[in-house]
């Protein structure tokens, strides 16, 4: 039996209270709203630390704790409690969400200082934190679903925070609609699980897996994968992430780099018992991850918008995680490790991008940057640490986590292992290329600034969080992997079976990865450091560049395959509705009213007629009863 706790709920309640207070108090809280929101997020982080310390002091099988909040749905034998589950996996997310969240709250105090709606921004941030915590703390798929929809809402509100610009409002709508497809997947998964297993709690489903047939598990697995694809911007539903950069940069750092977009990885890791029993679904997970990691990396090479380049990189890095999570029990822990390190370095780089934009009048085009190293030394150093981390240069964080993924991919066995190994290696090389490109275009070379631009370093409230994240980028990999600490921490949750067929020894894999990275960096240097950068993106470029600039045609594909036929379908449906259904409805309506009008005539106002009705009614009643009796 799992231990009960009564304090898990505070993790969620604190930021939720912040959102409620700020939204209800309205303008009255303009002066102190941001401070309250930051304080509440930080307190949630400390509750998380406290829970972690409690967890450390318990033997490993007693570490998970649960809390029942209230009976949510109770219909006959079907009961769902609103309950929370805090185990080794969710505590990792809790600390990531609240830790990075708090830093980004602090950063936003300064970043949003001149925005008239700063309070509303902080209310939404707190709402997001609460929803995201519910997502990772829910003890059943249904509770997770509530958080899942909650983060979707918060993401929508924050992407469209500056919705006075139509393009931004459209971007938030696009993100929301594409996420709906994923959400449908999750709800189908829940329905299938309920229909076949009769339960939707994690524990219940895990117990029921053995008695469930493989096709059903595959179905659930594929639906969960669809959900993950939507939320984590994986192929083929990745197109929204680039547009989501319309939101304020702290949002991109928190939601679209460190936390929400990793929910898909959480979902797959949490559902390990389903995927382990459904190899087909698991294979699909790997394929989706592999395609996306290449896809994102290729898009990243062609983007001139610094945030979109980082977004493409996020897509690609999450592709790594999904791929690794699809490799089964050996991969889950490494996927989570990369998720955590990525949370540090990607959030740090996004904040760095925000800092650059802050100093450059919100310019996002890297072709108009250049030589910012001197103007923004702190931003340069922190961004640079994140850069070293994502490349996987030892001893920075990415080296540990990404190498593990590449290694695991090679060890997957057979031709699958070789293909995946090569894909992940290539991905690492391309990552090195486009990240170096970002570094060169932004921080080195000659200034290509607008006349009005006066680059300057950001205030301490902004660089402090960047510095903290940079330290994380530098050290987290070592801390998490030394002595296999994260793997051991998580191992009780995953079924472990020791199958170890090493294709390549680790040292060779690391060497290969470093070689690929070196090649990527070298190409980028040759291409961008040696010659002048055009201030406007050149037009006469190869077809590949053009395709990459257009997000590998994904939007056009969506348009041709989904949007146009969808519009045609709705048009036909509207017509059918207007002619056939409405026609029928109107005919029924006319008939009904005609009936009413003719019946109305009996109400002629004469008492004698009314009395006659009563008499006839009485006679009819007697006759009727007589008939019944006979």
């Amino acid at each position: 039996m799992m231990m009960n706790s009564t304090s898990i709920v505070y993790l969620i309640a604190l930021p939720l209270a912040g959102a409620v207070i700020l939204l209800l108090a309205g303008r009255r809280s303009d002066k102190w709203g941001h401070l309250l929101a930051t304080a509440l997020c930080a307190s949630s982080f400390f509750v998380g630390l406290y829970q972690l310390s409690l967890m450390f002091n318990r033997p490993s099988q007693e570490r998970p704790v649960s809390q029942k909040l209230f009976e949510w749905i109770s219909v006959g034998t079907f009961k769902i409690d609103a309950g929370l589950l805090l185990d080794q996996l969710s505590i990792c997310f809790v600390l990531l969400i609240t830790g990075v969240g708090t830093l980004i709250h602090i950063y936003s105090i300064s970043y949003m200082a001149h925005d008239p709606h700063r309070r509303r921004f902080f209310a939404f941030l707190n709402l997001f934190i609460a929803a995201m915590l519910l997502l990772v703390l829910g003890d059943s798929y249904l509770n997770l679903y509530v958080g899942w929809e909650g983060v979707g809402l918060a993401s929508y509100l924050l992407i469209g925070f500056w919705n006075e610009k139509p393009a931004y409002a459209t971007a938030s709508k696009k993100a929301f609609v594409m996420n709906r497809i994923g959400d449908m997947g999750l709800s189908f998964a829940i329905m299938i699980a309920f229909a076949t297993m009769g339960t939707v709690s994690f524990i219940g489903v895990q117990a029921a897996v053995e008695q469930t047939s493989t096709p059903v598990l595959t179905g659930i697995g594929i639906m969960l994968l669809v959900a993950a694809i939507g939320k984590s911007a994986q192929f083929p539903l990745q197109a929204w992430l680039g547009d989501a950069m319309a939101g304020p940069t702290p949002v991109s750092a928190l939601i679209h780099a460190a936390t929400m977009v990793t929910a898909g990885v959480y979902l797959i890791t949490r559902s390990n018992f389903i995927f382990d029993a459904a190899p087909t679904a698991q294979l699909l997970v790997v394929i989706v991850g592999a395609i996306t990691l290449m896809f994102g990396a290729l898009i990243g090479t062609a983007k001139d918008d610094i945030k979109k380049a980082l977004a493409a990189s996020t897509m690609s890095q999450i592709g790594y995680m999904i791929l690794c999570a699809g490799l089964g029990p050996v991969g889950y822990a490494f996927a989570i490790m990369h998720l955590l390190t990525h949370g540090f370095f990607k959030a740090g780089m996004f904040l760095g991008a925000g800092s650059v934009m802050h100093g450059m009048n919100d310019e996002v085009n890297m072709r108009k940057y250049g030589a910012l190293r001197k103007a923004m030394p702190i931003t340069f150093v922190t961004f640079g640490l994140g850069y070293l981390a994502i490349l996987g240069i030892p001893p920075f964080a990415g080296f540990y986590s990404k190498d593990m993924i590449i290694e695991t991919a090679f060890n997957a066995g057979g031709s699958k292992g070789i293909i995946l190994g090569i894909v992940t290696l290539l991905g690492a090389g391309i990552t090195a290329f486009y990240m170096t490109r970002v570094m060169i275009l932004t921080f080195t070379g000659t200034p290509r600034w607008d006349e009005k631009a006066q680059p300057h370093e950001s205030p301490w409230l902004m660089w402090l969080p960047m510095a903290v994240l940079a330290i994380g980028s530098a050290t987290s990999g070592y801390l998490l992997s030394s002595n296999d600490s994260l793997v051991k921490w998580l191992s009780p949750l995953f079924e472990s079976h020791e199958e170890h067929h090493e294709l390549l020894p680790p040292i060779i894999v690391s060497a290969l990865a470093l070689v690929m990275v070196a090649i990527g960096v070298a190409i980028a240097f040759l291409k961008y450091s040696r010659r002048e950068i055009d201030a406007v993106a050149p037009k006469n470029v190869s077809i590949f560049t053009r395709i990459a600039r257009e997000d590998l045609m994904q939007d056009r594909l969506n348009e041709a395959v989904f949007m146009r036929p969808g519009q045609e379908l709705t048009k036909t449906l509207v017509k059918t509705d207007a002619v056939i259904i409405d026609g029928a409805v109107r005919a029924v309506g006319r008939l009904t009213i005609a009936t009413g009008l003719s019946l109305r005539r009996v109400q002629n106002g004469f008492v004698r007629s009314y009395a006659a009705f009563i008499l006839m009614g009485a006679l009819a009643m007697i006759v009727a009863i007589w008939v019944v009796v006979q």
Binding site: Y610, A618, M621, V628
Partner: protein
């Protein structure tokens, strides 16, 4: 022949006795208090009486007795619940009735006579409506608890006679009001005659006037079935007349339209509770034991009533007449609770009666607010765009209409759902089918009014919304809150009803 002195259980009878006492004092007040103080005194007295009665009822809520008055009155769970519903509805209605502008200054004066003008000019407003209401309420309270036919008949007349008078008290369109009163009186007497006739047959059948005695004969099956049959049919006609079931409904649209609107609301809500209460008791405790099934006949009436009410309501252009036909349709829905003849049917009927009654009082209270210079505006065409001019009032009215239509999150949905599911359980599938069909038809005309109020442009014809008096406002707000609360959290009241509502025999 020895004479047994009657023993009365005054505690159990006290809610009714308090009302009668209050009514009598009201008559004295009407005679002796100066006209300046009369209105206020009457209002205070009436509300005080009702609240006292309700408090007394709360005190005895767990008591049960077959012989509260020598076997003529029974106090049990359903009795308490029905009486409480009547009292709550009555209090809400009195708050609306308190707007004396609705009532004629001097009912005894001929319409348009010098005498009438004089009393309006001098402000000599008579307030006999308060004691009349209290008398009617005492009759309603007695009706569902009476256990012998004589008491039942006395209660029926006690509730009817004041209502006939009250229907004629309208200040404006007095002739229509008096016509309504007369029609109501004539047809009511006609149906009372049927009722009496039925009593005679039942006495002939069982040689007893008590429900217990009749039940014994029915269970024993010893008597002449023809007498039982005729007795049941005629007694039912009297009851069906009061609830406005087709074909005994014809009075209701005319009376609803002619009567002063606050009285219409009171009548539509409280009379239904009383009449259905009595009907439930008689059918559940006596007729349920009949060896042959009478339910096909009542089912037919239920189906015809629902469909007729809904269809004809579609064709109405007057809000009061529309609500009258809607109340006919609701009588049909409620009959399916009578047919169900199971515990769930009883519980659902009581819930439905309370929910419907509260919403009805609220809806008619709002009708009193929509006026022009010559009084209330009941022509629906002139309700256009009301939502734009008075969003709060129109929203409340929309809430009541949605409750009548049985839309979820209102008390009407819970009521309809529970009453139909009880009827379905008992096998009355045809009734449930007709009920759902007519609910669909009914939803159309309810929602049409909402569309009219909110989605059409206002017309400038001097129709305005009266600022409601504090009392009317309270009544409306309370009604809408109850309507919504019972739709969202019905469980407490439903379980309260379920634990209490069992007829003792």
């Amino acid at each position: 022949m020895s004479f047994i002195s009657p023993t009365l259980d005054y505690t159990l009878l006290s809610p009714i006795l308090i009302l009668l006492g209050g009514a009598l004092i009201g008559v004295l007040v009407e005679a002796f208090i100066s006209k300046a103080l009369r209105s206020t005194t009457q209002l205070t007295l009436t509300i005080g009486t009702l609240v006292l009665s309700l408090a007394q009822l709360w005190k005895i809520r767990n008591e049960q007795s077959m012989s509260a008055a020598m076997g003529s009155v029974v106090i049990d769970g359903p009795a308490i619940l029905l009486q409480a519903s009547i009292l709550i509805i009555a209090i809400l209605s009195i708050l609306v009735i308190a707007d004396t502008d609705q009532f004629t200054a001097l009912a005894a004066a001929l319409p348009g006579s010098e005498e009438e003008r004089h009393s309006i000019r001098t402000g000599n407003q008579v307030t006999e409506v308060y004691p009349l209401t209290l008398f009617a309420i005492s009759g309603m309270m007695l009706f569902p608890v009476a256990t012998d036919l004589i008491t039942l008949f006395v209660a029926l007349e006690m509730l009817s006679l004041p209502l006939y008078l009250m229907a004629g008290l309208s200040r404006r369109r007095r002739l229509a009001s008096q016509e309504a009163a007369l029609k109501y009186f004539l047809l009511g007497s006609f149906s009372s005659a049927f009722f009496l006739f039925g009593m005679a047959y039942l006495y002939g059948y069982s040689a007893s006037v008590t429900l217990a005695g009749i039940r014994e004969s029915v269970v024993g099956g010893s008597g002449n079935d023809v007498l039982l049959l005729l007795g049941m049919a005629f007694l039912s006609i009297g009851l069906l007349f009061k609830v406005g079931a087709v074909p005994f409904h014809a009075w209701s649209p005319d009376v609803y339209q002619g009567a002063p609107t606050p009285i219409t609301g009171f009548m539509a809500a409280a009379t239904k509770v009383a009449a259905f209460g009595a009907m439930l008791r008689i059918y559940y405790t006596v007729f349920a034991n009949a060896e042959w099934s009478w339910s096909p006949v009542i089912s037919m009436i239920a189906i015809v009533t629902m469909l007729f009410g809904s269809f004809v309501a579609l064709a109405q252009r007057d809000v009061k007449r529309m609500l009258a036909y809607s109340s006919i349709a609701h009588a049909g829905f409620l009959l399916s609770g009578v047919i169900a003849l199971n515990k769930a049917g009883l519980d659902a009927s009581i819930f439905y009666l309370f929910a419907y009654g509260v919403a009805t009082v609220g809806a008619f209270a709002i009708v009193t607010l929509v006026r022009d210079s010559s009084g209330e505006v009941t022509d629906l065409n002139r309700w256009r765009g009301l939502g734009k001019r008075s969003p709060w009032v129109a929203s409340a009215f929309a809430g009541f209409l949605l409750a009548f239509a049985g839309i979820p999150l209102t008390s009407g949905f819970i009521g309809k759902f529970s009453i139909f599911s009880a009827a379905y359980e008992s096998g009355a599938k045809g009734v449930v089918f007709a009920g759902i069909l007519s609910s669909a038809v009914a939803a159309f005309f309810y929602i049409r009014v909402i569309v009219l109020m909110f989605f059409t442009d206002p017309i400038q014809d001097g129709t305005s919304i009266e600022i409601p008096s504090v009392l009317t406002r309270f009544s409306i707000i309370f009604s809408i809150l109850v309507t919504i609360a019972l739709g969202v959290f019905p469980a407490p009241l439903l379980s309260f009803i379920t634990t209490l509502a069992t007829f003792i025999r």
